[in-house]
């Protein structure tokens, strides 16, 4: 396990054609995913898309109806005990015993994962340092604030140095400073572990993830790494306000314009292909032809828009409640 070179390309999680039915409802439908060591995978989806079900299946708390899962090369369904050694899981609701102190709880978790007493002692000190819990060890979990409880939850998941860490909405209910700290921690974890991060907070994904998978109605609708995603979000969008606008065709004929959208009286949104859409050029043109430019704003296509585009299109058509995006 000390060979860093081979660690880089090691596949930690490979799940193939996972499906899970609850009665007739397919919560997860033919979903495959892979996770490499040193990668943070963002797992996105609107509420009820099947995120939590997938997490549960990956962690062995729920058996898939069909499909295979292997964790660090060990089949989770055939050798669950061996596979689960490589797994750290923080469910949506942190699994804490409120009547124990943080130290007692972490020791219990270590023993539960089959670590010796001495190993556990060292590991508890290590994760407490990592999660900022040094001064909270002897406090009852029930008396810790939500943010610290969440940290204990994360500490529990990384205690036994698992190859794979699965975090289900780890920053829910935290204050902005704590969120930033937890994100730093996740990025740090991503360097030597593989992390699967389920969330519906999009900036979080942009901040920490190397790869994004979007799941909608139990199916995978997007699987792209950071570069591919950057290309998607790389399209330039300019919003401009004109007192004396030319005809829409004139705007459409500008170099590199892909789409012209009339917003309101005198407001337009122009979408340019990559490498086009210099705001300065547009301003010069507007001045030269006396369009009465009074507003020029550069917009970036965000992950949020991609997310909405992928997950809401059908929903609106089927007249369902649109996806909730935090």
């Amino acid at each position: 396990m000390n060979n860093t070179a081979s660690m880089k390309s090691e596949t930690l999680v490979s799940a193939a054609h996972l499906s899970r039915y609850f009665g007739k409802l397919a919560a997860v439908d033919d979903l495959s995913l892979e996770l490499q060591r040193g990668e943070v995978l963002g797992f996105l989806g609107p509420n009820g898309a099947g995120k939590t079900t997938t997490m549960q299946m990956l962690c062995g708390t729920l058996a898939p109806s069909t499909g295979r899962i292997s964790i660090a090369g060990v089949d989770l369904l055939e050798q669950p005990r061996l596979a689960k050694r490589q797994l750290g899981f923080l469910p949506e609701q942190p699994p804490l015993y409120r009547e124990l102190t943080a130290d007692e709880f972490l020791h219990y978790c270590g023993r539960l994962r089959g670590m010796s007493r001495a190993q556990t002692g060292d590991a508890v000190i290590r994760v407490k340092g990592r999660c900022g819990l040094e001064s909270s060890g002897s406090r009852l979990i029930a008396n810790l604030s939500k943010g610290y409880q969440q940290r204990v939850g994360i500490a529990q998941a990384i205690l036994h140095r698992p190859a794979v860490v699965v975090l289900d909405e780890p920053t829910v209910g935290l204050d902005p400073i704590q969120i930033r700290e937890i994100r730093d921690l996740i990025r740090e974890l991503g360097e030597d572990h593989g992390v699967i991060l389920s969330t519906h907070i999009l900036p979080e994904v942009q901040a920490v993830c190397d790869r994004v998978q979007i799941i909608h109605q139990g199916r995978l609708v997007l699987n792209e790494n950071r570069e591919q995603l950057a290309r998607r979000t790389g399209q330039r969008v300019l919003r401009l306000g004109l007192h004396r606008p030319p005809a829409q065709e004139v705007l459409g004929a500008l170099a590199g314009v892909q789409q012209v959208e009339a917003l309101s009286e005198g407001h337009w949104r122009l979408t340019f292909s990559t490498d086009h859409g210099d705001a300065g050029e547009l301003a010069a043109r507007a001045a030269a032809e006396d369009w009465g430019l009074f507003e020029l704003v550069s917009e970036q296509r965000s992950l949020e828009e991609i997310f909405v585009e992928l997950t809401c299109g059908e929903s609106y058509a089927e007249n369902e409640v649109p996806a909730e995006v935090a």
């Binding site: 609850f22 061996l82 469910p91 015993y97 978790c109």
Partner: protein, 250 residues
């Protein structure tokens, strides 16, 4: 498995419930004990004349153990109700299920934890008769048989409670259904006196009470011991099966 048991025991002792239960059980049994000592003192002159009359242990210890069985039947559901339902409700079941332990060791660990606690309660109860050594002698064989009976009985109670706890996320529901089941099995004996011959025997056999009474009288019959062992194993297996089934199919 042992660490699960240790945590369970620890959590029990961290809650006031455990201490209250120990105190209540001990107070009630001490009272019964004193009454029986009084009874024995009244009867002693008359008993002295009969050969083969019941001795000190039979008169004092048997009723105490009998009451202990009833009190523990009332109390065990409160101890077992939280075992799995609370884990399910607080989400800690996910911690256990995602850890490298089998479902069987989760259930057995929980069972051992509760048994360790009830063992403490039973040892306190068993210590009562030792006061009699101050002024008399005890039939240790009878005492041991009675104690064994109590341990087996309590194991059966706990296993049933554990299973009931695996069915629900509401501790209260687990407690009430455990209590209902235990009481029914206890009272099943009544049915054995009425009804058809075969059914009566069957009910008598299934009753938790009949097998315990034999042991209280000092009759060590493998069938009685086996009854409790099978009963306990059955409910533990049901618990394992139930918890495993939750993972598999909806």
């Amino acid at each position: 498995m042992l660490s699960i048991a240790a945590r369970e025991l620890r959590s029990l002792f961290l809650s006031p419930l455990a201490w209250v239960i120990l105190a209540v059980v001990q107070a009630i049994l001490a009272y019964v004990f004193l009454i029986q000592v009084e009874v024995f003192l009244q009867w002693q002159p008359r008993l002295a004349g009969f050969p083969g009359a019941p001795g000190l242990t039979a008169i004092v210890v048997a009723p105490v153990f009998h009451t202990a069985a009833i009190v523990l039947m009332l109390v065990t559901p409160f101890l077992t109700m939280r075992l799995l339902s609370e884990e399910r409700r607080s989400g800690t079941l996910a911690l256990l299920l995602s850890a490298p332990v089998s479902v069987a060791s989760i259930v057995l660990g929980k069972f051992l934890g509760v048994m360790a606690f009830l063992g403490c309660a039973l040892i306190l109860v068993a210590l009562l008769p030792f006061w009699l050594l101050l002024g008399g002698s005890l039939d240790f064989g009878l005492l041991a048989a009675g104690f064994l009976g109590l341990v087996l009985l309590v194991a059966a109670f706990s296993a049933a409670g554990l299973f009931m706890s695996s069915l629900t996320a509401q501790p209260t529901i687990a407690a009430v259904s455990t209590f209902g089941l235990l009481l029914l099995l206890w009272l099943l004996d009544w049915g054995s006196t009425t009804g058809a011959q075969g059914a009566g025997e069957l009910f008598g056999y299934l009753s938790l009470l009949t097998h315990f009474e034999a042991l209280l009288q000092g009759i060590f019959d493998t069938r009685d011991v086996l009854y409790y062992l099978i009963f306990t194993a059955l409910f533990l297996l049901l618990g394992i099966w139930r918890l495993d089934g939750e993972r598999l199919a909806p």
